[in-house]
Amino acid sequence: MKKLINKPEDVVKEELEGLALAYPDIVKVHFDPDYVYRADAPVKGKVALISGGGSGHEPMHGGLVGLGMLDGACPGQVFTSPTPDQMLEAAKMVHGGAGVLYIVKNYTGDVMNFEMAADMARSEGIRVLSILIDDDTAVKDSTWTAGRRGVGTTVLAEKIVGAAAEKGYDLKKLADLCRKVNINGRSMGMALTSCTVPMAGKPTFDLPEDEMEIGVGIHGEPGRERMSLKTADEITEMLALSIIDDPAYSRTVRELDEEKGEWVDVTLEDPPFKAGDQVLAFVNNMGGSAAVELPIIYRKLHEICEKKGLKIVRNLIGPYITSLEMQGCSITLLKMDDELLELWDAPVKTIGMRWGI
């Protein structure tokens, strides 16, 4: 293992210490339990947004904390969900009296830890709602798996819902908006290499020079299928078509029902894309691909979208939801409307994303 680290067990702690020193005008960091929060938190009267998950996906989530985006982020160990006490303490620190929305990526660990945290926060009198992001089309069905994973759409949801919170949406409206972004966004990722979890010290899987994994998540795990290496155009086509041609996707998720005061099963259906849709196209670097490669992916994606009658109205290109130093990329398409466009364009000031300010 070759990494710019000191001790493997100190990676997350020292990263957080560095962020706190480098960006004091944007974030503060609390240790034990660990969480990153907005420097000006709590913002009175605003719904507070909190997300979190394993580390190793930087800038997500700590780098997405700040004006117009998250109020708090709970980093776990690398690729390991954080713990409920982090999420609870973060909620207590950032909530400004208008409630807290947890944005949770659909991984068993994240889901269970956030569920425990939401119950704990509510028993301490904090209003909480929780919305899942499950947008990874690599996962075909939800009956035989833990359901689609939360990937690229998470970044877009945090930006859009964050802007809406800043605008004064209430908790219920924000939860509805977050759900809307989730069902209108879809992603697909691929890997050219594996990656090495610092504490494990060796790559999670072996991937020969001439092969790649299609349908990977963001944890260095093997994907749906291994195949021989292809060109950027061919890879882009595979990823894009698996998103654009994906049929309606239906699954049951658990959400907090405020009136009943308990978790209830909710059935959600993602409508498929259709010609005439306006989309945001997000080409994400898994962390280890050279920046020169991403526009090559975007170029082909643009052509495919045009051919399919999808109009790209906004884009985002770069490393936003990474998988350590993995080489590879993911594509996310999000169907846009006027509300989402306005919120996307709204000012944001975080470590990883900044505009309009």
């Binding site: 339990p33 394993g54 776990g76 160990q77 690398v78 690729f79 390991t80 969900s81 954080p82 713990t83 409920p84 006490d85 991984y107 068993t108 660990g109 269970m112 830890n113 569920e115 425990m116 690599a138 996962v139 035989w144 798996t145 833990a146 994973r149 979890v197 504490m199 494990a200 999670t204 899987f205 998540g217 944890h219 260095g220 795990e221 093997p222 749906r224």
Partner: protein, 212 residues
């Protein structure tokens, strides 16, 4: 043979040793069908338990197990944190107030632990999870108690059943947790969570054997 709170404390310390020794093994299993962190997660959790034990040395067995569960919840993260954390907390609740445990209490402990895992993770049998190791252990304890078995025998049978349950996960197709994303590719690998469950139950049996 009654199990005392000193035995419970020792058992937890021994569990921490066993998990520490198997940290790489569990992580390797998890890199085949997961994200290569299960051993690391479990080790972090049991080290956290060790730190908490001095504060409950004079408490009842229920409080000791509940405290261990809380230490797991607040230190492990991942899927294993809430699952094992809930298991230990529920187990502690099932023997609340007791300073000495008999064979029946072992059933109460493991049954409550299993119910806790299922409540939290909603896994079914044969989903290729820790449920597949704990369920046969609970069933066999219930049977052995009916036949009048004592503590050691009960736990030895439980460990054997958990071991078989763990091995039985190899041909299974994962339907819960991270491994489920691999579909057919999850077949042929032993589930890391079922393995750690076996290791923990086996440690209980060893504790009883040594004491006898």
């Amino acid at each position: 043979m009654a199990i005392t709170t000193v035995d419970v404390l020792n058992c937890l310390r021994q569990m921490a040793d066993v998990i520490h020794e198997n940290k790489e093994y569990l992580t390797d299993l998890d890199s085949a069908i997961g994200d290569a962190d299960h051993g690391i997660n479990m080790d972090r959790g049991f080290q956290a338990i060790l730190k908490k034990l001095p504060s409950v040395e004079d408490k009842d067995a229920g409080t000791i197990l509940k405290t261990a569960g809380m230490a797991l919840v607040s230190s492990v993260g991942g899927a294993a944190g809430p699952l094992y954390g809930t298991a230990f907390m529920q187990a502690g609740m099932a023997i609340a107030g007791k300073y000495e445990l008999e064979a029946e209490d072992l059933l109460a402990i493991l049954d409550a632990a299993l119910k806790g895992v299922i409540m939290r993770g909603r896994a079914n049998l044969a989903d290729k999870t820790m449920v597949d190791a704990i369920t046969p252990a609970v069933n066999v304890i219930r049977e052995a108690l009916g036949n009048g078995a004592g503590t050691v025998e009960v736990l030895e049978q439980a460990a054997a059943a958990a071991k078989k349950g763990m091995k039985d996960t190899i041909p299974m197709l994962a339907k819960k947790g991270r491994a489920s994303y691999l579909g057919e590719r999850s077949i042929g690998h032993q589930d890391p969570g079922a393995t750690s469950s076996y290791l923990l139950i086996n440690t209980m049996a060893e504790m009883a054997r040594v004491k006898e």
